[in-house]
Symmetry: C2
Subunit: 175 residues, 2 copies
């Protein structure tokens, strides 16, 4: 593994940012950001009546944390999504200051069309293009490791220390 | 390959968007966007004196196309980068209306520190975490295939046709 390979990986991941824009258009009241809020809420278990065993209370802050987004941004999208009938908010029964969020039937149905039907079809096309389950597993594992490694490494500190040493080396050379 | 695997891949790629924000801080006059312009220019061969055989004329539109960004946005960043000494612009010798772009020595040196030193170090850490060259190859190939497949599939049309058929099915049920 060398810097060149790593760069190829980084460039590929940057290119991959286009992918959401290439997927089918959403209903006009759903931006990519709002769709991600819906999906994060679904993944965290905040859906209305489907499979009560997996359902759990989801707070706005849970969604923001999972998305790696700011709380005010997510709060705004949650309000818009409530107005358009995709989810509803309620006060927590245990703590009145806490707001819980849940998908409505409409939100759940939209999620189903978007993520199940379109994704199943795309998965089929990918399989036909020769991409295997194993390829996906390797890709997901590699990107996760990358995020873990970079998250733990504190590269900014490493760079500053390097720059510090460089400056020190220049200083001593002048003496 | 099923929709669930595909979704895992998409979620992973969305998470990977954080990666640039986790890399070391750039010099204060380099945003992530400007760094990408510098790197795209480098990759397209627009560097000043290094390896003349790989060097070639690069236009602003080449950079924008390669980045998948808008031309006005890239033009603005190119002007900022010229002002800060990272690149310089010149009129094309063959077509005076065309503007060619080239890295300065300062731009090339900055690129070297950023992409070579930091990337080599990160690649080392990734290797220590068990990520192999093969993992990177699979990841890069998988994401490229994904972008190709989705780019060619016209999923929006597929979805509209599906919605059309659904609407037609509802219509006939009402008769």
């Amino acid at each position: 593994m060398n810097g060149r390979s790593f760069k190829m990986l980084m460039d590929t991941l940057r290119r991959a940012r286009r992918i959401d824009g290439m997927m089918p258009q959403l209903p006009p009241d759903l931006t990519n950001g709002r769709t991600r809020v819906l999906d994060t809420l679904y993944e965290l278990g905040g859906y209305a009546k489907e499979d009560a065993s997996r359902r759990r209370a989801v707070r706005v802050s849970d969604i923001a944390d999972d998305m790696g987004a700011t709380r005010p941004g997510v709060t705004r999208m949650v309000c818009d999504l409530e107005r358009d009938g995709y989810l509803h908010k309620s006060a927590s029964p245990t703590d009145g200051r806490e707001v819980l969020v849940e998908l409505t039937e409409h939100g759940l149905a939209t999620h189903r069309v978007w993520y199940e039907e379109v994704y199943e079809y795309t998965a089929l096309l990918l399989g036909e293009a020769g991409v295997t389950e194993h390829d996906i597993e390797v890709t997901v594992r590699t990107v996760k490791r990358l995020l873990e490694v970079v998250g733990e490494a504190d590269l900014t500190r490493w760079q500053n220390e390097r720059l510090g040493r460089k400056a020190a080396a220049c200083g001593s050379a002048e003496e």
